[in-house]
């Protein structure tokens, strides 16, 4: 009986292993990178230990399909600026978001900053990350890039901070000073979108930090998933403006299955504890806070 169970178990194990085909593994300067195919999707993940650390996924047969549930939400900034001309991506991943931006807005200029050169190579080789005329990629630390860009007078309509992998947070990318630098980099209609965490004590502190720099923001949350923050340079527009912005881009977004109406409905408002400590360059224990339960 026991032997039979083990046999079934083994069969099950090999079955689940066979479904996943590893295409590429690499130990880069910063992490372990793995590209794998599971059924019809291809994903990039950073650590093998945790299963849910998929950074980026595509469907090679259907390039318009946004596989990971957070990806459409990363376009939530279009609620505030429906026609961005200059985009800054902090963190490239598989380059999926850059590709969608380029296809949505031909002629858009995209600057992507990714600290890990190996990730840029993987995006090019496995995820069809295409550098069109307006696309520039910098293998740099996001904070260093932002500071330099500010000095050089660069401005962006849309900044996406997507630099946190499943396990480690670059703490200098989660401080009020960094957010202030981003805010200064934004044009008057500019919007900052951040893909971040949704639990632990960090949630409260991070929320307080964004609020201290941007005031009210859209707090887009979905069960068992990341939280996406959408913050405007000059405060959130009226509900009427949001609605008319949706109408402007709705048709264009349909083929990617990005539904701004639905995304706006994810807004949970101010649902964090009010008196959390703001993160600054002087006080930035983001990784330690993340390990602590919200009490």
């Amino acid at each position: 009986m026991i032997r039979c169970c083990i046999a079934v178990l083994l069969l099950g194990l090999t079955g689940s292993l066979a479904a996943e085909v590893i295409l590429h593994t690499e130990k880069s300067l910063y992490r372990n990178i793995e590209v794998f195919e599971d059924g019809d999707i291809r994903c990039l993940r950073f650590t093998v230990r945790r299963r849910e650390s998929r950074q980026s996924c595509i469907d090679p047969d259907e390039p318009d399909r946004l596989v990971l549930p957070y990806t459409p939400v990363a376009f939530g900034g279009l609620l505030i600026n429906p026609a961005p001309k200059r985009v800054l991506l902090v963190g490239l991943g598989g380059g999926t978001i850059a590709n969608v931006f380029a296809r949505l807005y031909p002629g858009i200029s995209i600057d992507a900053v990714e600290i890990d050169p190996a990730v840029i190579e993987v995006a090019r080789n496995y995820f069809n990350f295409a550098e069109r005329a307006g696309t520039r990629v910098f293998a740099q630390d996001g904070r260093v890039y932002a500071r330099r860009a500010l000095r050089n007078g660069a401005r962006y309509d849309y900044i996406l901070v997507d630099a946190f992998d499943g396990d480690y947070i670059p703490e200098h990318l989660m401080t009020a000073e960094f957010l202030e630098e981003c805010r200064q980099l934004l044009t008057n209609q500019g919007v900052l979108v951040a893909n971040t965490f949704s639990s632990s004590r960090l949630y409260n502190s991070e929320s307080a930090t964004y609020e201290s720099v941007f005031g009210d923001f859209l707090n887009l949350r979905r069960r068992f998933s990341n939280r996406v923050i959408v913050a405007a340079k000059n405060g959130l527009p009226s509900p009427g403006t949001l609605k008319s912005n949706i109408a402007l881009v709705e048709a264009n977004l349909a083929r990617f299955d990005i539904d701004l109406e639905q995304i706006l409905a994810l807004d949970r408002g101010k649902d964090w504890r009010g008196k959390a400590r703001v993160l600054t360059d002087q006080y930035a224990p983001a990784n330690l806070l993340r390990g602590r339960n919200d009490d």
């Binding site: 740099q140 630390d141 996001g142 904070r143 500071r147 330099r148 200098h172 002087q282 806070l289």
Partner: protein, 182 residues
């Protein structure tokens, strides 16, 4: 070591958190310590006393002050002039951390000179001193990275280090005075 850890935090807003920032910091600390050992040994040749020993602590404390007051201004200047964050972080580390670390490095060999009374004890004394200073580094590292950064700002921790150095200096110098008077 606590200062070295905080160094990573201090440099990150300007030069990022990449591996080369830690490379710069560790290089500068090792270089400064080695020079400090050399100078501390030299300094111990002439009229060694507790008073002078205490002055080393006070000098270290004073060398931490620029970091506290002009750290950001200085990193602004470096950031403006050096495009490559590798050399930027190296230059910034040199200017901000070199002097305090040299001064701290001088303490150990000087202490060996004060504590050794007979040649046949010298190895034993040096061994005990290495033990104390290295275990202190280990505890300082642990305390800072696990707990202090969770409750305090970087500058608050630096002020505490400054105060501790002043205290050590005053105690050593005070003890030196007392032994001189009779």
């Amino acid at each position: 070591m606590a200062i070295e850890l905080l160094g990573g935090r201090i440099l990150a807003p300007y030069f990022g958190n990449s591996i080369y920032v830690w490379g710069s910091l560790i290089t500068v600390f090792m270089l400064a310590l080695s020079i400090g050992y050399l100078l501390g040994g030299r300094f111990s040749l002439r009229n060694p006393s507790l008073l002078r020993f205490g002055s080393l602590f006070l000098f270290s404390a004073a060398a931490v002050l620029p970091l506290l007051f002009f750290g950001n201004d200085f990193m602004d200047i470096v950031f403006e002039h050096i495009e490559d964050p590798r050399y930027g972080s190296l230059v910034a580390s040199l200017v901000l951390f070199f002097l305090p670390t040299v001064a701290l490095g001088m303490i150990s060999p000087y202490a060996v000179r004060l504590l050794v009374e007979h040649r046949d004890q010298s190895g034993h004394v040096a061994g005990k001193l290495y033990f104390v200073s290295t275990i202190g580094s280990a505890l300082g590292t642990l305390l800072t990275s696990f707990y202090l950064v969770l409750y305090f700002e970087v500058n608050q921790i630096l002020v505490a280090i400054f105060a501790a150095l002043i205290l050590c200096g005053v105690v050593a110098a005070g003890a030196g005075r007392r032994t001189l008077i009779p």
